[in-house]
Amino acid sequence: MSKKSISSSSTAEYFSKNLQQVGFSSQTKAVLTTLKEAVDNALDATEDHGMLPEVKVEIERLGPGTIKNSERIRVMVEDNGPGIDQDDLPKVFGEYLASSKFGRGRCTRGQQGIGISAATTWAQLTCAQGARVVSKTKAQRKAVSALIEVDIKNNKGVMKQRETIDWDRPHGTRVEFMFDGRIQVNGDAGLLNYLLGTSLVNPHLTLHYKLPDQEVVTIERVSKDVPVIPDATEPHPHTMKLGEFIAHSHLFGKTKTSGWLKKGFSRISDAVLDEITKKKESGVTKTMLDKSVEQLADGDFTKLFSAIQIAELKAPSTNSVLSTGEESLAKSIQRLGKVDFFSVVSRKPTICDFKPVQVEVAIARLEDKNVESESSAQILRFANRVPLQFDKASCAIYQAITSVNWRSYGLAQSKDSPPLGPYIFAVSVVSPFIKFKNASKETIDASDELVEEIRRALMQAGQKLSRYIRAENKAADLEEKIRYIEQFGPILVEGLARITKAKEDQKKRARDGLMKLLGRDANAAEKEVSEANEKLAAHKAKADKMDAARGDEQEAEE
């Protein structure tokens, strides 16, 4: 056997060689991922500090890139957030896994602290310079401007060209990347889809964006409530593995074992511990529970862990999920274009695959009939309020949409396909533990339970939507019936009269009789239309009443 030295490499080294795993698998994706990571950070930062985000995005082409068939692209994202302390700048933009959010079990957009450093790496690899950052905190009089790069060998951020500058903002961060890529504006994976999607699920966001060869567009916020991200709940023991269980104990050294179990985990109570100790075969005794955590032997951990796994525990709490809410969604969806009518559903948080999750659905029909009726509805997918734009076919959201029979709600649809027509389907899944299929977070794993939960939300939204469609169809039906009577009545009578050589008075009587008959049909259709309209009005009134009640509650709280 030959002797080879075994060396370890840094996290940064690993990611710099595997950028495709984190969203840099193609040139178009590189642009979108860079934008997405910068906007995610901006939104998380403002929300964390209870600020209403105002984000400015600029994307432009600077000329040909160094990679074949690429362009030099500039992506700039500026926020009005709290700003970043200058000592933290290299960590935030130049160091992998240096996150304030890693594994905290909260519904933040970013989770691991990989994305923005990957964007810096990509810029560095294709353009030989990292991220240009300007940041100012409330306490600073002047802003700090610097170039941040990744020291790939050591996974460390390096700050270069640091200078203090005048910046006319009270606080905020502006980050600018220059790199090789290709711009795709339209389509499922286009920049526009990302920007519109982001504004949809962030009603409190004001977004200004400028895409190449286009004017600046501003989407104003429709809500002044900054979402409060609920704190994480303690971990549920059924979602853990033995190693994690033991590692968790280290935080509770001198605490009594029973205290560690009750405080350190959710859903473990005295009753649960009693039940465990009663079962002799579990090997867990009261004495063991009275020992401090430090005193436990390795074997004790295994016994405890196994006994808890078998014990019947309540499902995890759903308090840690964050929703946009039906009211905000309803306002927000109207920012996407001229909307004919819409339907929103915000499901109660529930447990899927033992993790808390909340599903929200918004469906809107656009007035813009330029969209061909045979083309598929536009689908916007979100995970923790971040748009998902790739690999839709294997996504839980897409699978749930195609599994619903939309024809029963009055929409056109081919089998196992999304519905057709000028509709927007927005589905948002929020959970502190979203199971993605890959590190670039493009697809939500389609487990049966999650697909079913999304399906239910979609069907509820479909039912609401069908009230509008039904009323519309009935009206169209009536119109067609009246047209039919006017067109075919005379033809039928004339034809019959010619064949039978009927006299004029006979013909007249037949014409009158026919009109009477068909008129009865039209009256019946008219009645159906007014009934459908009444139902719709009643539904709207009920919804308004509920909105008003919600408003009163909020006022009372304030």
């Binding site: 039919y484 034809g495 019959l496 009789g513």
Partner: protein
């Protein structure tokens, strides 16, 4: 040719006018007129081996005048007028021609614009609807199909045709040289005679194989009528074989592929008609035709080349699936008298193999008349179903 209830073709105009008068009368009273049409589908088909062909059951489709049906009724009355005019003048048309005639009528009369047919299938449906209401054949309203298939050879057969103007033409098939006789969609205008006793009539599924048999001298060596059906038999072929059966009174044999499609779509249609044409099976089916082969036992007996049904053979795969349904629901295959034919379908479903009629050429490749010898041998020995 007789309509159901013994009415003749000449009664169609009268019947139609009476129907229209009833509709008009109902309208005058502001009463919803209803049209009843025979339901032409398998679930309304009855088979009695003594009758020999599929006949309609009692199910009718009622079309009541309302906003949804006013278009269909208006179109039917419009097309009826065109057809009555044809009967009156003796003009005939194909369905496609009727489609264009309708187009022309609509073009000339703006009031009729809403009736306009967007494609031929709509006008075809209207013609069929009229036939179902009047319980007549399309040929009886002077609407003819293309004379497809049925090219006939014989050294003994003589055909006398009565023309539209009443004059008669005599065709002696032995004098046509290598040309076949093409039977007409109106076989009822033909009268048959034979110069010599005709022993049998052979209907070959493949037109090409029929021609080969004739070229190799089949009709010279045997007193027979030989014709090719060219796949699913057209009205012309079905009516023609029935005519031969009734007027020449010789036994008839069908020789075709051993597969589910041939059994259900070709042979069954020739022998007992189809569910779609319940009204006219009486005149367009030849109940005495026997199935000569290829029979499953022939494969072993003559060591014929057969092969498994290919998955990409959509037609045959579909036919095999349909066979199961046919055995359960088709009164023809359920009839005890046709047990032998149903057994072939079962054999085909079980073995999923097929054997083509041309496989007889593989028995002795050096003898061009080997297939003829086998056919004659099978007829003599009674090896048919």
């Amino acid at each position: 040719m007789a309509l159901k209830g013994g009415k003749s073709q000449s009664e169609i105009p009268g019947l139609s006018r009476a129907l229209c008068a009833r509709l008009l009368g109902d309208l005058e009273k502001a009463k919803r007129p209803v049209l009843h049409a025979i339901k032409c589908s398998l679930d309304n088909a009855i088979y009695n081996h003594k009758v020999g062909y599929l006949t309609p059951g009692g199910k009718k489709v009622a079309t009541e005048l309302n906003v949804s049906s006013v278009k269909k009724m208006s179109r039917a009355v419009f097309m009826l007028e065109v057809l009555l005019r044809n009967i009156d003048t003796g003009a005939v048309n194909t369905k496609r021609e009727l489609y264009y005639i309708s187009k022309g009528e609509v073009k000339g009369t703006p009031l009729l614009k809403p009736l306009d047919f967007t494609d031929q299938s709509e006008s075809d449906d209207t013609v069929d609807f009229i036939c179902e209401i009047l319980e007549c054949y399309r040929e009886e309203v002077n609407c003819y199909a293309n004379d497809r298939g049925g090219q006939t050879y014989s050294q003994q057969l003589v055909v006398e045709e009565t023309m539209a103007d009443g004059t008669k033409a005599t065709i002696d098939l032995s004098r046509l040289g290598t040309s076949p006789f093409q039977p007409k969609n109106r076989p009822q205008n033909l009268k048959l005679a034979s110069r010599k006793k005709i022993d049998f009539c052979l209907i070959v599924e493949s037109e090409g194989t029929a021609n080969t048999l004739v070229a190799n001298g089949f009709t010279k060596r045997h007193n027979c009528i030989l014709l090719g059906s060219q796949g699913v038999p057209s009205n012309a072929v079905r009516g023609w074989v029935k005519l031969i059966q009734e007027q020449i009174k010789c036994p008839s044999y069908f020789f075709g592929d051993l597969d589910a499609y041939t059994m259900q779509n070709i042979y069954r249609t020739l022998k007992a008609g189809s569910a779609a044409s319940l009204i006219r099976n009486q005149d367009y089916s030849a109940p005495d035709v026997k199935f000569l082969g290829v029979l499953p036992e022939d494969i072993k007996k003559y060591d014929l080349f057969d092969y498994p049904v290919k998955e990409n053979d959509a037609q045959e795969v579909r036919a095999l699936k349909k066979a199961d349904d046919a055995l359960k629901n088709d009164p023809f295959f359920q009839d005890k008298k046709n047990k032998g034919l149903a057994d072939i379908l079962r054999w085909l479903m079980k073995n999923k193999r097929r054997c083509e009629q041309q496989a007889y050429f593989s028995v002795n490749p050096k003898d061009p008349i080997m297939p003829e010898k086998i056919i004659i041998d099978k007829i003599k020995k009674g090896e048919f179903i």
